[in-house]
Amino acid sequence: MDVLIQALNLVATWNVLLAVIAASIFGLFVGAIPGLTATMATAMLVPLTFFMEPVAAVGAMVACSAMAIFAGDIPGALLRIPGTPSSAAYVEDTYQLTQKGQAELGLGACVLFSAIGGLFGTLVLIFAAPSLAEFAMSFSSQEYFWMALLGLTCAVFMGSGSLERGFLSLLMGLTIGSVGLDNPAGVPRLTFGSTDMLGGIDFIPVMIGIFAISMVLRAAMNGGGEKEAVPKTVGNIFRHWGFMLKTYWRQMLRGNLTGTVIGILPGAGSDVAAYVSYAISRRFSRTPEKYETGHAEGVVEATSSNNASLSSAWVPALVFGIPGDTITAIVVGVLYVKGMNPGPTLFLFNPQTIYAVFLIFILANLIMIPLGWVLIKFAKNILRVSKSVLMPLILIFCIVGAFASNNSVYGVTIMLIFGIVGYLMEENDFPVAPCVLGIVIGPILEENLITTLIKFQGSLIDFINRPIALALFALSCLIWISIVYSWIRPRNEEVSE
């Protein structure tokens, strides 16, 4: 109880509340602009968090990402362009509802079930994370090694596109994470004689480059894009809440559960959660033929799911320091900068900070309703802002943000390089998420690999000499076998033809 009061004291300060509200508005704005993702919003927020207290910094990121995921539903409903990839699964339904003059039904479902989903995921986070952390206290380097490897394997497996591209993206991330002095022998590695690179490649300019600069380059390539048609007006979004809660409570619960489980899985994010939940909803629906024609059922389940997964993705990030998706990968980077090194000891030594973060999760999901309502009211004006006007502003904001990461143009150089890399990766169908997770998880993987090798004098069998390590190894093997099988299968089919 003392911890909770301390946490409340940490949250109930003007600094934190202002940071949360400002970050929420920023997240809503970015999420509502088609093409700007929640991850990009979080990456752009990072330079500002340097100047905040730890709780305010993490709180701002929590609020920003939750709002951006929800706000992505709005352009989907009004323009048929999902604001974030997580909203893409059910965009057809929300848009068709708008076309039928029932925009308030679709958007009302998005506001209500996003908030409930977020709260559900938060509850799981609050109850599961401390117990898991206690359990994780007994983990040794073997378990951490397999956890990290499993996270990376899932990141490749869950991603879209070809598996070899996913793997190469991951291996690129691992190589980037290997740069600098921070390696087992403590020697300069992959620094090419640069003193700036001795400290490793700064994560923040890399994120800004991969997520924001690549998008600016794409906008430059497309000439900024055309102005969107003015959306139709939206009625009272609260009108159908009672009816939806009564009719779709099963879908809501199922979406919450699916989203939470997918969020906890390392490597799978809210977009995967939304797609899986939409598919499940359709599979179990009595009226599957109505899907994609303007039917709220699938929307309820998928939107419940994507916000739930966002909160629960913090479970592996906080407990093991292994991020579940790209957003938590960025957050883990910020946690290190703020001295809140993620891992089970965080719960032991700094429980009040963690509970403060949990409280902000609840707060963010509650203020989503009034802020979401305001955003929908102003959606017409926000969606009219042309990308041609936004992109130059985003570019200069990114440059300053990357510069601020270490007060030198080295950050800007890194940002530019990774902006081009990110752009080329997307052009050539390389998923970006495995690369980002590789950068964050790589050092953890290497440290635990070398520790275990030295501890057991190179004996590989000792990597699975403990029950949990063995279970994690078996799970990883299952995924690898399915990957190898998918590589071999097409060749066999060709041979049989």
């Binding site: 430059a220 390539m221 902006g419 080329l424």
Partner: protein, 156 residues
């Protein structure tokens, strides 16, 4: 800019082999068989394996050029716009220290507006507002040491 599978396979194969050769030169932890080389060596094995597969699929896809532009961006303007955006960031890297933040940022923002076909008058107004707002937020409020250059110190 898109690369064929064969081109990508070749690029990554060279990268993987270079990484492996480089890693061999890294020392171990004194008294141990493992060290700075272990992890990058494992990474290079992975890169070589995946690139070999890409190369294999690439060689079987006949008629795909090594490098090509996607059909929707096959205009000179599109390519020049991307090149100009990259050059604007390079301009910041080399000139921000000498010119100062506000002049450099103004040039970048205004050029970017013109690249994206925003009306010059609107672009000029937005450029001035954005450059000064960014300077105020980051230098004054967040105490980032943005380069001053030729600019006189502002009163705020």
């Amino acid at each position: 800019m898109r690369f064929s599978d064969a081109a990508l396979g070749l690029i990554f194969l060279v990268t993987g082999i270079s990484l492996a050769l480089y890693s061999y030169s890294l020392p171990s932890i004194p008294g141990q068989n493992y060290g700075a080389a272990t992890f990058p060596l494992l990474i290079s094995v992975g890169i070589i394996g995946c690139s070999a597969r890409l190369l294999y699929t690439g060689i079987r896809q006949r008629g795909v050029p090594f490098v090509y532009l996607a059909t929707e961006v096959k205009s000179v303007r599109a390519v020049l716009s991307v090149a100009a955006t990259v050059l604007l960031i390079v301009f910041y890297i080399y000139f921000a220290g000498r010119l100062g933040f506000i002049p450099t940022a103004s040039i970048i923002i205004f050029s970017m507006f013109l690249i994206l076909k925003v009306h010059p008058v609107k672009a000029l107004i937005l450029t001035v507002i954005a450059a000064f707002a960014c300077d105020f937020i980051f230098r004054t409020m967040l105490l980032v040491s943005l380069p001053i250059g030729i600019m006189p110190r502002l009163p705020w």
